[in-house]
Amino acid sequence: MVIFDRKAEPHTPSLLRELAEKARIIRRDSLIMTTEAGSGHPGGSLSCADILSVLYFHHLRYDPSNPRWEGRDRFILSKGHACPALYSALSLAGFFPREWLRTLRKFGSPLQGHPDSTSTPGVEASTGSLGQGLSIGCGMALAARLDGRDYRVYVLMGDGEMDEGQVWEAAMFAAHQRLDNLVGIVDRNRIQLDGFTEEIVGLEPLAEKWRSFGWNVLEVDGHDLLQVAEALDEAERIKGKPTLILARTVKGKGVSFMENQVKYHGTPLTREELERALKELEG
């Protein structure tokens, strides 16, 4: 057993520096992987890199040598297209060798184009068809309660995904069942495949929507590691209702020419663009 369990550690400057460095590697990996694969979703991988860093290197409890350890916290990437970032985090956490990252989307690779729980250690749910992750999270949270276990369940959703009716079915259900061991996180980068969320089907006021569905809602800057870490701690203290962390983020965060660009939702960088991007990330 090599259980990773650091959530009690204070949020010191050195911890935050460490998390920032992990987020930088997640961004770097995501860009290299998608360019190498010739397809994939770099923009939304960059927007959630900081959130994944806090989760995997500070907040979640897991055992990379035993991915199915029963006491682990569960993380579901409902916005499955951002799996390059998840794969990077899992490899850094020790679930599988770093070399696997280069095989993303290639035939025979354990790293599928969208998360597959049967082929990648550490992937808790098969996702990719949007809107399904929160329901799965509800089931896991119910199972924890039935078994009297203290593991917690985290579901990272995209904001474009909020268009799906199933999200709101699950939102109502989680509140009705008072699932306080369930945390939803919305990566609010304001861009979906076809354009800006507010131009396609407006979501605002999004926080109010979740509140009215019976959730405890926390709003944070999704690139401020301290705010994300504190919100995750705060969510553990809330009893009787699930918590939704609305994380304001920037699509393509960290690479100047990618930020807020619709194009990079589903288009990988060219080799030349990749070089420029990696230089920026080193800087």
Partner: protein
Amino acid sequence: MRPSASMRETYGRTLAELGEEHPEIVVLDADLSTSTHTSLFARKFPERFFNVGVAEANLMGVAAGLASCGKLPFVSTFSVFATEKGLSQFKQSIAYPNLNVKVVVTHGGLSVGEDGASHFCLWDLAVMRSLPRTTVIVPADAVETEEAVRALVDHRGPAFLRLPRAKTGLVYGEGYTYRGEKLEFRIGESVVLEEGEDATVLAIGPLVVEALEASEALRKEGLRVGVIDVHTLKPLDERTILREASRTGCLVTAEDHSIIGGLGGAVAELLAERRPTPMKRVGVRDEFGKSGPWRELYEAYGLTSRHIQQAVREVREMVR
């Protein structure tokens, strides 16, 4: 008249019994628990029953989450809602990750009767059988329903079991016997009810009784017609079907489902590739269906013993 019994009542009762010895069983429904009879389980084990409301997508997803944490979810609603509104979730969240979720639906086929076209599900078997990793079962009567539900507890992986709404005639005797002989229900192994020489009828669900009656009637015409209860549509019992195709040289399929893609489709695919054999399909012929008492609908859409008899005569003509 044969005695009849409700398969969905048997389902609910069996589930409630199984809950006792299997603490891992959890049951989910989408606001139809008094119709699917999962309410019997809910009353006995309220903490292990979850009503998600009128929300079939969430129904499937919650079941997936429970299964991934070691629970054995039985999920129930009408077939039309499970397969038409929960299909994407069944595929992505349950079948693809190979989770141990049992979807037991009621109100399959025209047996729904008066509710009409919006509630008929005449294509669920075609859809579900095309999904990898998914076992598909259609019991013939209430007795076989109990056997099938019990078998699903020991079975690993995603499964879909379809029941009708109506009380339908009994094929089997108490304790899963046929003509006094004790049988054993095995997923993937069909049951030979009547040995035939001149033709074989392969039937599922309430059409098994119709097939038995057709076989009896045709005997008076001097025909020995075999009847097989193909309770597992997937994996299909290819061995038995191919053997019957060789032995009697012509087959009829019978089901309360569209003739496209269900039992008729599955058997036609098998025969075309392995042993081309004349066959006829008894089922709903690419129509939506209208409201009415289910027996009248079976008459109107060609699903009775009389229609099976006619199909046997026609298929016999083809081999002459």
